[in-house]
């Protein structure tokens, strides 16, 4: 590239926000396109979790007793606690985005760190729930053990329990990594009321993972608590 072009290019950069890509007219258009792209990704996520939940629904219709028995094994207090933790993390995430929108840079970092702390709390609780399942031999596989005639069907319940919560926990871990990057960027004062798109998009992802759990909690932990079949 001739030197003259480089100089012209650099000069051109001085005229607009450093985050603006050249194929967009302005930051607003760029923000709109980014948001739309994130939502398209979330559409695929909806179908991904939707397929698993459809499998869950069909097996639940076939084996209602096994579903009730398996669900009774899950700790409703830990599940409820984690639900509250995730909803609180969604609130702090929304407040982080709002702080970025209003240019409160320190508050953005603070809310992001609190959100990450909630996410970590969720994962730690989940770890102890999984640990208990391993100790009780409720993990599907050759060592699976469950008393009674429904055992093979309860194993299907636990297969879906681990598939759904496992994939959800993986999303939490990815979200945690994502937020640590965003928090680092925020602490370097990279965001402003003119440009805070990464915070907004990370927020969309985090809220989506929260929505998945909003469905998983009643589907897995609260199948049939009114009968107490033992």
């Amino acid at each position: 590239m001739p030197n003259g072009t480089v100089a012209a290019h650099d000069e051109h950069h001085g005229e607009h926000h450093p985050a603006l890509q050249h194929h967009f007219q302005d930051l607003e258009q760029q923000h709109e396109a980014s948001t739309l792209g994130m939502w398209l990704f979330l559409v695929t996520e909806v179908m991904f979790f939707g397929g698993l939940i459809l499998a869950y629904t069909l097996y639940r219709i076939w084996y209602p007793v096994a579903w009730a028995l398996g669900s009774e094994e899950l700790n409703i207090y830990l599940g409820g606690f984690n639900t509250a933790v995730l909803i609180a993390s969604s609130l702090t995430m929304a407040l982080a985005v709002r702080s970025a929108q209003t240019g409160a840079q320190k508050a953005t970092v603070r809310w992001l760190l609190i959100t990450m702390a909630f996410g970590l709390t969720f994962l730690v609780v989940k770890f102890f729930e999984y640990k208990e399942k391993f100790e009780l031999n409720h993990v599907p596989g050759p060592n699976f053990h469950f008393e009674g005639a429904e055992s093979p069907h309860v194993q299907i319940f636990f297969s879906l329990y681990f598939a759904l919560t496992g994939v959800h926990a993986l999303h939490m871990i990815i979200g945690f990594g994502l937020l640590s990057v965003i928090a680092t960027m925020a602490s370097r004062k990279r965001f402003s009321p003119e440009w805070y798109t990464p915070v907004e998009l990370a927020g969309l992802y985090w809220h989506f993972v929260d929505i998945v759990w909003i469905f998983l909690f009643p589907l897995l932990y609260l199948v049939d608590r009114s009968h107490h079949i033992v």
Partner: protein, 129 residues
């Protein structure tokens, strides 16, 4: 950039509503509703909570029409996948099976005893050794 900025009070109100929804869904699970209504009730509460998150936390309420269309499309196709599959599985054997029921379990029994042998038990290969 002219993104909509919601007042903090909105976020706290949504947070409160979500917590109330969580309490409701736990309470409803311990009530024995007639006609297997527990599952639909739990789903209805979850859908309401998810809608609040999408509209307010995820700013879709203030988003462009295109964003709303994309989001709506996702849940529209999810609905097609769930309902069309269930119209098949739930209606199998309605007019052919002797017991008016099938493996799809049109008549759901909550007794722990093994159910009367269905015509075509799905997942039979997972039976105990």
């Amino acid at each position: 950039m002219s993104g909509h900025i919601s007042p903090t009070s909105t976020y706290f109100a949504i947070f409160g509503a979500l917590m109330v929804g969580t309490a409701l869904t736990v309470a409803a699970a311990f009530i024995d509703f007639p006609a297997q209504l527990n599952f639909p009730i739990a789903l209805a509460i979850a859908v309401t909570k998810a809608t609040l998150v999408v509209l307010f936390f995820m700013h879709v309420k203030y988003g462009s029409k295109l964003t709303k269309l994309i989001v709506g499309t996702a849940f529209f196709f999810l609905g097609i996948m769930l309902t069309l599959t269930l119209t098949d599985y739930l209606s199998r054997g309605w007019f052919t099976a002797a017991t008016r029921s099938t493996s799809a379990g049109a008549i759901i029994s909550l007794s722990p005893q093994p159910q009367p042998a269905p015509l075509a038990e799905p997942g039979q290969n997972t039976s105990p050794k």
